[in-house]
Symmetry: C2
Subunit: 576 residues, 2 copies
């Protein structure tokens, strides 16, 4: 253990114009620790402009989960570093107990796009060892208990090396006079496709084994706590043709006696056991607004692949039927299956929230699918990611616009009426980011600010919410190679930890953005009820500020826009 | 001195799915060193996927300046680290002497946009000390002498700690069968506005003192070696209204006896001493294609400010005339000054390359300026950054398009005829990046690949070259705060070192892009003369590859596109 550290951060302190003369400050001193904005990712070379700051201030609604970050750096190795918070005391004996908080430690992943170690996974452990000169994020997650009385609370957040130096931060928490509902009641619509196969793979368990189900329960709980609304269910084998590098398991087992031949689709049977258990598990966890069924045609893109894998019950082996969208076998099989699917969903009481889901299929493909559905199963709801809304014959019940469609002003003007129409009819219209754009997005090399910004964009453009293609499609060796063929981080928000999912910083920032959105909604309702146009204008300004995508000058943090929302709640909320 | 180091880079090597169990490899070993792509910026947390690689390969034309990078990291401090190259031996006793190379060391700057230390300045010094766990870039710059015979040369690049461990890299250099002309003869048109006041300020010398002139000579030489073509001359005081944080000195001294009153502009006199010396100095250094005279109206943007500062020869003090573009005083003064400026330029033989230059002035302002010029001095050439090309009454002799105008496909289609027309008439039409876009650009947080890519964009869009607003508008304390109100790095490519300009990595990468452009031109000529459509197609494909701005998948390095250009030169070049 080394308790005396040397500041060498001063490598960049040159003696003015005289030029690049290194001035090493070799006086013996302690480790440095400073509060850092959660919207800025900690890097091994992170520094502070105010290394002596010792105040951390958080403000939020009762029930809200808030994050703070302290960065620690030392010129020699630190062993057994930990962060610990005290109870937070309020007025009249009110307390936010220390147990409301979790302290986690940012771990570094080697990211190929930048060839630098990049912090994202938040490890929950007793202590962490910190290599010399490698800035370490100590991440505080505070859940303000739902029943907490509004007011100011204060306590301490201490960072200490085992048996050694401690740096103590004043932690001030203001609980605003409003309550954030539980995630299940959030108005924001969040749809991030799950890949149960990814969980099985990363944890090295057999798909749909009891070990797998136990893990899926932990993941489901994590997703529910992060505001997830939609259950992603494969109804055929590998609907995305292994775009994550691996096949995606179906939850519906297709069975047929022997080798399928045309005209005999009525011999298919379907086992919904896994589907039912998965939907049930997600629903119980709190992810229960919608079920996306993937997919009558493989996505994404203009391929017309629609192969079906089935269990040949005679041989006990799997077989594949090569099918192209729209060909006679495709029509025959789906003509038989869709009524069976409908029947099953109705039996379970899930039909009202089930959607036939499609990923970035072009207009012509979607039109032929609509034609088919109109003749065979016109009542099924349809969800399409990629923007084609359908037409007067059959409208999509859900449209997901690519963010680029919003950021292009001319295009936005063209689609604004569609957005208003769909929202007024109670249909989902949300937006997504995927492998594009480069910015804003939630890659491992994206700034964390961007993850928080995305939900604000949904508010700005009047959308239901946000969609992404993957929350847990883990690559083979995520800790050593977080990149597969997509950008690093594109395929997941969480990590496969020893005890289930490990949150990424991006995932926490994204949740903060969702909570911001709900706070905005609450503040908006308050201002409307109070007839306060001035405060509505203030909220509009906050949204403009919070959604700046580019600028010549400094881009404000989203947290600054949130502070304006809080001002409205502070003024109009119910004082206790 | 510590010669035995411990690898702790293994912080990210987790034991597979079992989760985030840190596995520290504590066996004693040496520092790590690995060759790294010059298009990837070294960060404190840089890592390698091939830490054992020991081969560096460079290829280029005789006369070309090439760069390579080795990154060093160690878990304990390294003292007195240095890189040294040997002579490079070719066939038949040919040699590239070691003196053709410079070894420099990347210094870290604290960059506020990312709050992380960021390498850019290349310090030329004997050795460098490397803090533990802080990756250090050792940068090799090799100028292949102009007379070098084509062929393969080989030698060694050794990285060693003073008196300790050494890691030796095989350095193979292939000199291709073609010669790169000296920068003065490069076809690429490069216009990066200089700020002589910035040099005076950063080096703490009096503007236009002999010390200042001595420094300016060093800067001019650096610019010439980096392909600069244009002399930036302020013809009024502070033509950019201190947008860099400081006024921009004029090179023309305006004098008037007393306080100016309307109708007496003929009493103005102008002292061109500084202007002449500056133009002469830049010309002698090799920056001699054009002179931009700033400006009849302050830029950028829609302000109509056109104040004139002058020396009141009666009081010996400076006075300001508040003038708005187009008002009677403006017309009166410029009606007198422009003929005087023309006369002086003609006397010096510079009139043919002098332009009245404007920065991002809107269409209506430019129209009123054109109207005025048509009546007063229609022969003056005009340069406008920001895209308004003039009209049939008076065309700009130079148009500089913002890169966003090129990247928008619809807009590009609209301006393509203008590009072709101006090029065919020998008028300059180039493009620029400034505080926007976020990407691609040359900020301190931009990937270095972007700096190299910019010249390729000029080729792709058939443009004369590239322009930027600042090469040396240094902020007050650049080593500790490289950011002023624009993004970090926006205002400069070089740094004010003890002995004059210190190159930034961005500046070296940008020059490599210019050299790529010239190699492309040489290869193109060869393939055309040889009637090799297949090779022209190959070059077109190389340009497409080298100019990828965004992509879902991995973005190739520009160097890979350059390798294809080299293949053409290797096949068609004159063998010795």
């Amino acid at each position: 253990m080394r308790k005396i550290c040397v500041i060498t951060l001063a490598v960049f302190f040159f003696a003015g114009c005289g030029g690049p003369e290194q001035k090493k400050n070799k006086e013996l001193t302690k480790f440095q620790a400073w509060p850092a904005n959660i919207e800025v990712r900690t890097c091994p070379g992170s520094f502070s402009r105010e290394p002596g700051a010792r105040k951390i201030r958080l403000e939020g609604l009762s029930g809200e989960i808030l994050s703070a970050q302290v960065v620690v750096n030392c010129s020699s190795e630190l062993e057994g570093l930990s962060g610990e918070i005290s109870d937070l005391s309020g007025e009249r004996g009110n307390v936010i107990p220390a147990e409301s908080a979790r302290v986690r430690y940012g771990a570094y992943l080697p990211v190929d796009e930048t060839m630098t170690l990049t912090a994202d996974p938040l490890l929950e452990k007793e202590t962490v060892d910190v290599p010399a000169n490698q800035a370490q994020s100590v991440w505080l997650t505070l859940k303000i208990p739902a029943e907490t009385a509004p007011g100011n609370y204060s306590g301490r957040f201490a960072i200490s090396e085992s048996g050694g130096q401690a740096e103590v931060f004043d932690l001030a928490v203001e609980v605003l006079p409003a309550a954030l509902p539980a995630p299940r009641q959030w108005s924001f619509y969040l749809n991030i496709w799950q890949d149960p196969s990814g969980v099985a793979r990363a944890h090295k368990v057999k798909p749909w084994s009891e070990e797998h189900w136990a893990l899926l329960k932990l993941y489901a709980s994590n997703y529910a706590e992060h505001g997830m609304d939609v259950i992603t269910a494969g109804i055929v084998y590998d609907p995305w043709e292994s775009q994550s590098g691996y096949p995606y398991e179906t939850t519906v087992e297709w069975k047929y006696p022997g080798e399928f031949t045309r005209g005999t689709a009525d011999k298919f049977t379907w086992d919904f056991t896994v589907f039912d258990r998965y939907v049930q598990l997600m629903t119980e966890a709190g992810v229960d607004r919608k079920i996306d069924c993937f997919s009558m045609v493989k996505g994404p893109g203009s391929n017309k692949h629609a192969d079906i894998r089935y269990l040949d019950t005679r041989s006990g082996r799997y077989r594949d039927i090569k099918i192209t969208l729209g060909d006679p076998a495709w029509k025959e099989i789906w003509t038989v299956f869709l009524p069976r699917l409908r029947e099953h969903l109705k039996e379970k009481g899930w039909y009202g929230k089930a959607f036939l889901a499609f990923d970035e299929k072009p207009r012509d493909d979607m039109r032929s699918i609509y034609d088919f559905l109109l003749s065979v199963a016109p009542d099924f709801k349809v969800s399409i990611a990629g923007g084609y809304p359908g037409d007067e014959r059959k409208w999509s019940d859900e449209v997901i616009l690519h963010v680029n469609e919003l950021l292009d002003e001319r295009n936005l003007a063209a689609i604004a009426p569609l957005i208003r129409k769909m929202r007024s009819e109670g249909r989902y219209i949300s937006f997504y980011t995927a492998c594009e754009p480069y910015y804003p997005n939630v890659f491992l090399f994206s700034r964390l600010r961007e993850a928080r910004l995305l939900p604000w964009l949904a508010w700005k453009y009047g959308l239901s919410g946000y969609l992404r293609w993957a929350v847990d499609a883990f690559p083979e060796d995520i800790w050593n190679q977080p990149n597969y063929k997509w950008h690093s981080g594109d395929m997941y928000f969480v990590y496969p930890g020893e005890n289930g999912p490990v949150d990424g910083m991006r995932w926490e920032l994204f949740r903060q953005g969702l909570e911001d959105y709900e706070a905005l909604r609450i503040a908006w309702d308050m201002a409307q009820k109070a007839g306060r146009e001035d405060l509505l204008d203030k909220l509009k300004a906050a949204v403009e500020e919070g959604t700046i995508i580019d600028s010549c000058s400094w881009i404000p943090f989203v947290g600054e826009a949130r502070a304006k929302v809080n001002e409205v709640i502070r003024e109009l909320g119910k004082k206790v």
